[in-house]
């Protein structure tokens, strides 16, 4: 296996970053080998990167379905297991059941969205990770992993686009 280098570079400005990323692509560095860290969410495509495919909507759909079924179980089935008659109402009526089913569906939707997005982001993750504190101060950081043979070219690309703090990424406890 080829020896690879890891590098972090900080940029002041998004256009520079995007151009640098484009040139790194032409050097043959894959999108997966690059991580862009920003303090601000940039719009899709602003930095010339592909959009990742998410399983989140599927997780949410499954969660909502589970909530619906649980609500259905509570509102429609359990009243027959613990049968007590109440005046003028059948043991299971449509409007109360609809409310219970609705609320449990929504609860499961919300909770599965939250848990799903944490799972997708692989959170919580407190171990050491390459990061630079200047990111939240407004800098854009690019983490690179590339074959050692490309070292000088990569550094040249980065420097030509006003990157600074180029160096071995510091792995800090987060």
């Amino acid at each position: 296996m080829d020896k690879t280098n890891n590098l972090i570079a900080l940029f002041h400005e998004s256009t520079d970053t995007a151009e640098a990323i484009d040139e790194l692509h032409t050097l043959g560095i894959d999108d997966e080998k690059m991580v862009v860290i920003t303090g601000v969410p940039y719009p899709h495509g602003a930095l010339g990167r592909q959009v990742e495919w998410l399983t989140l909507p599927y997780i949410v759909a499954v969660g909502a379905l589970a909530g619906f079924l649980f609500g259905l179980f509570l509102a429609v089935i359990t009243p027959h297991l613990y049968r007590l008659d109440i005046g003028g109402h059948p043991p299971v009526g449509f409007p109360p059941a609809a409310i219970i089913i609705f609320v449990f569906t929504m609860m499961a939707t919300i909770v599965s969205t939250f848990l799903g997005v944490l799972w997708e982001m692989n959170f919580p993750r407190f171990g050491p990770a390459p990061y630079h504190k200047l990111v939240t101060a407004g800098h854009l950081a690019v983490l690179l992993e590339y074959p050692a043979t490309l070292d000088s070219q990569v550094r040249q690309v980065l420097e030509s686009h006003k990157a600074h703090h180029i160096g071995e990424p510091e792995r800090m406890a987060l």
């Binding site: 601000v40 969410p41 609860m107």
Partner: protein, 476 residues
Amino acid sequence: MSEVQPTQPEQDNHPDQMPEFEERLLLAERKDWEINEAVLQPMFKTGRGFWILVAILSAIVLWGFYAWGYLIYWGMGTAGINRPVYWGLFITTFVFWVGISHAGTMISAVLRLLKADWRRPITRGAEAMTAFALMMAGLYPLIHLGRVWKFYWMIPYPNNRFMWPNFQSPLMWDMVAIFTYLIGSSLYLYLALIPDMAMARDYTEGWRYKLYRVLALGWRGTEAEWHKLHRALGIFSVAIIPIFLSVHSIVSWDFAVTIQPRWHSTIFAPYFVIGAVYSGLSALASILIIVRRSMRLQEFLRSEHFDSLGKLVMVAGMAWVYFWFAGFIVEWYGNEPIVRELIHEEVSGPLAPFFYLQMGANIIPIILLVFKRVRTTPVLLLGTTLLVNVGMFTERALIVIGSLQRNDLPFNWGTYRPSWVEISIVAMTFAGFALLYTLFSRIIPFVPVWEIKEGRLRYTLRRIGRLLVPTAAEIE
């Protein structure tokens, strides 16, 4: 890095005037780290006034807990409720707090979906208000139970008592709906908070660092993380709107499903929802004005935000009047004996002072908010929005207590006087809300920094003739 002080010349010259929209205030020339500092610095400043406030609020909360203990120990009779007024100030305040909780979602979810950009600096304050108001509201179903130590009998789990709750009871709907809304709004608040926790983590040390580090969950801000966060927030915004509509509808059905005169009304659900939005938005405006002044966030919470918020309050108020009238005219025209009696009591009977307080305190603010000067002058807006909530609290009291005093058999009519226990517990929740909010504002960045930075990305200034106009780009 910590030497920078936010410049506020406007504040020095005209303390009552909010700074008008200016190029400088687009934050365009502000560096990211300057914004971070401007938001974080006031959090660290806990002066004597802050601790005095915390002490007073804590004292009221402790007194309220004593009153609650007294209520549990001696029985529900220590409250002022009786037959037929089985529900009194507790349920009134419960409805009030659920109402207050509605603005958070209104602001952050509805406006996020509508891409209304003025929401950005106020979303977090609104969401926190929702969560805390729901916590306070959630206490009341417990407080008003005659045997609170048996509250878990309402939770459906298989048990050796062979007991199961009744899902046809509006109280069960209430319980699950409020619980869902509390979970939903807390998770929504927290999800949007994670990037700011990471920001705060990078700027702090000591106990704050530890806290923020745990809350940030290891957020770095990679593109994938941002993408996923956006997606999740989008789903949240859509999912939480039906919840927020359902919660106050269900609260209204606590009343409307009974055949108590004046409660048994189909208009109650939308009427309660719109009343909740009205009082919630007003409470939000009041809180933002207070926090803005005490935490010196004038740079972020500007006149244009209060202007928009004021307009929204005004629209909600007009809708409230419409719904109130739509319910009232049907009852007035129907002229059923007990309903007629209740209306008579309100309009010219012993309840008249409350009725006119309700109408005045809800309608006068609508007229006042027509004027831009009222919407953009902090003191005037504070007074106006507080007035709205006086009116809305009275409205809930009239609905709950006023209606219960009269029923189908005149021999069962009664009156109600709140006791010191009830007043203490109601005061406890107001103080508890203020206390939670005060502590929150010193621990959590009150302004969503990343959302402001994101909004700043969208804006440029464009010259049209003599004017410099901010223009927003359609990006998300």
